[in-house]
């Protein structure tokens, strides 16, 4: 029942996603040869999953450290200085309001030390105080406290980000957008918050999404599902491909994908509206089987024209495809 060295090493590799086919077979064989082995495997997997959280010592304040390093590296570009001056001005205004409102509020702000990370020029990864990983899409912003003390781990998101939340049953992870609250235990998923809708796509684990306007309005999603909250209504769907992460991976894959869906994915990735022209919706019956990897919009448009035989016209910065 005690695991030997060889199997233990294979289990480590499997949990890491690095085991070879042969090793997986050996593992399967070992698991099948005794009920006690399955239990041992579960225990090791649990240890592997919980260790990051247990090992993560008190939070190191990345924001404060950055301020120090930033000051030390000397000649900063002008725009960075302007940004920090603006920050001081915001704080000065806030301070005036706070003083009028009462000293208690001012104290609260000073001790929670909320930090903001905004991905300005490119996608940005960061590590939260509990070891959770976030990848922010360019243009998005996340606010989080220096340390997750208390009954929950709460952050605020504006825009789009992919999360890998560290497992912790006793401290639920909650993401607030202007519209909804996404609640998780430990899992990986995407949250996208736009002007008119919120979308959540779950890669692994499970997540609950709550409409902040009406907390009884909520859904629970498991791996492979997604939900969109628009005008106070949830619509749920299965996720059939990984294109929702194209902004992170750089590639889009279509396998007999209906043209409308493909155009939606392309619009979302390139931030350019591409759709079928009015009256040409019959073309939506076409399916697309093609793969794009880190390609320019122009070359993708060319390929679309060739593969579908449709024509392209531009109007008001939007692209329309039509049957010639």
């Amino acid at each position: 029942m005690h695991v030997n060295e060889h199997i233990a090493a294979i289990i480590g590799k499997k949990l890491e996603g690095q085991a070879t086919t042969e090793e997986l077979e050996q593992l399967q064989h070992w698991l099948g040869s005794g009920a006690g082995n399955v239990l041992e495997y579960d225990q090791l997997a649990r240890i592997w999953a919980e260790s990051p959280r247990v090992l993560n010592h008190t939070a190191f304040d990345t924001g404060a450290a950055w301020t120090k390093v930033d000051a030390a590296i000397g000649s900063r570009p002008r725009t960075a200085v302007v940004r920090s001056l603006l920050a001081y001005r915001r704080i000065a205004v806030a301070a005036a309001i706070i003083l009028l409102a009462g000293a208690g509020w001012l104290l609260y702000n000073n001790t929670t030390r909320w930090q903001t990370m905004e991905a300005l020029a490119a996608n940005q990864s960061l590590r939260l105080p509990d070891g959770s990983e976030v990848e922010l899409r360019k243009g998005s912003k996340i606010e989080y406290p220096a340390g997750f003390t208390g009954a929950e781990r709460r952050i605020r998101l504006t825009g789009e980000a992919f999360f890998r939340v560290q497992h912790n049953e006793r401290q639920p992870f909650r993401i607030n957008t202007s519209r909804s609250q996404v609640e998780v235990l430990g899992t990986s998923f995407l949250v996208r918050s736009e002007a008119t809708l919120d979308e959540v796509v779950v890669a692994t684990g499970s997540v609950s999404v709550i409409d902040k306007a009406q907390s009884s309005n909520r859904v629970v999603l498991v791996a492979g599902q997604k939900a969109v909250l628009e005008q106070d209504r949830f619509s749920q769907d299965r996720v059939t491909d990984a294109n929702y992460l194209a902004w992170k991976t750089g590639f889009l894959e279509f396998k007999a994908t209906p043209l409308n869906k493909a155009l939606d994915d392309l619009s979302h990735y390139y931030n350019i509206s591409i759709s079928l022209a009015k009256g040409h919706e019959a073309a939506s019956k076409t399916t697309l089987t093609v793969r794009f990897e880190n390609e320019s919009f122009e070359s993708v448009l060319e390929e679309l024209k060739q593969v579908t035989g449709l024509g392209v016209k531009k109007e008001n910065g939007k692209i329309f495809l039509y049957q010639k």
Partner: protein, 188 residues
């Protein structure tokens, strides 16, 4: 916004991405928070001043971890030579363990795991931390510690076995303690 140098942006991104895991790793060696932060901040400054060519490349990660490791070991050497500095800092520099093991017969899984992690042999612990906290790949760990990937795989397996063994033994003890207490209660 267009005037902001992209080197600066990449540098800031790298800082936000790596600062915390590097500090967590340093803490497993140095065990004093301020010292860890100083060491890691120094390394980033050095990158900006002397190693800008690494910024934005994958090689940066290897540099950061190797430099952190070396600087931590140097720091440990220095602090060992002057025992006074060690005492004046933290009086209780021992491993964080469960506060009252004697009281709770059925010990908390988290507390047991924390205790077990502190008891891993040093090399084994380093590999385990680099994998589970810093999230380095086995390849990256092998390069940083200058060992083979096979050794990394074995050390990970060894860590899991040791951790599991410790927890199982403690839980067995707890159960037998309860059993014994129950037995005593039956007798009275």
């Amino acid at each position: 916004m267009h005037e902001q140098s992209s080197l600066y942006q990449l540098f800031q991104q790298a800082f936000y991405q790596h600062y915390q895991p590097l500090c967590q790793y340093a803490f497993t060696l140095v065990k004093e928070e301020e010292a860890c932060e100083d060491i890691v901040q120094e390394i980033f400054l050095r990158v900006w001043e002397k190693k800008q060519d690494l910024v934005g490349t994958e090689a940066l990660r290897y540099y950061l971890y190797t430099a952190t490791r070396n600087n931590c070991l140097t720091w440990l050497d220095k602090s060992r030579k002057s025992p006074l500095t060690r005492l004046s800092g933290h009086e209780t520099a021992e491993a964080p363990g469960p506060a009252s093991r004697e009281e709770a017969p059925v010990a908390d899984f988290d507390a047991l795991l924390a205790e077990a992690l502190e008891l891993l042999p040093p090399k084994c612990r380093e590999v385990f931390v680099l994998s589970r906290v810093s999230k380095l790949t086995y390849q990256q760990i092998a390069e940083t510690l200058e060992i083979s990937i096979k050794t990394v795989e074995n050390q990970m397996g060894k860590a899991l076995r040791i951790l599991r063994g410790f927890i199982r033994d403690k839980q067995a003890q707890a159960i037998s303690t309860i059993g014994f207490i129950a037995f005593l209660l039956l007798l009275t």
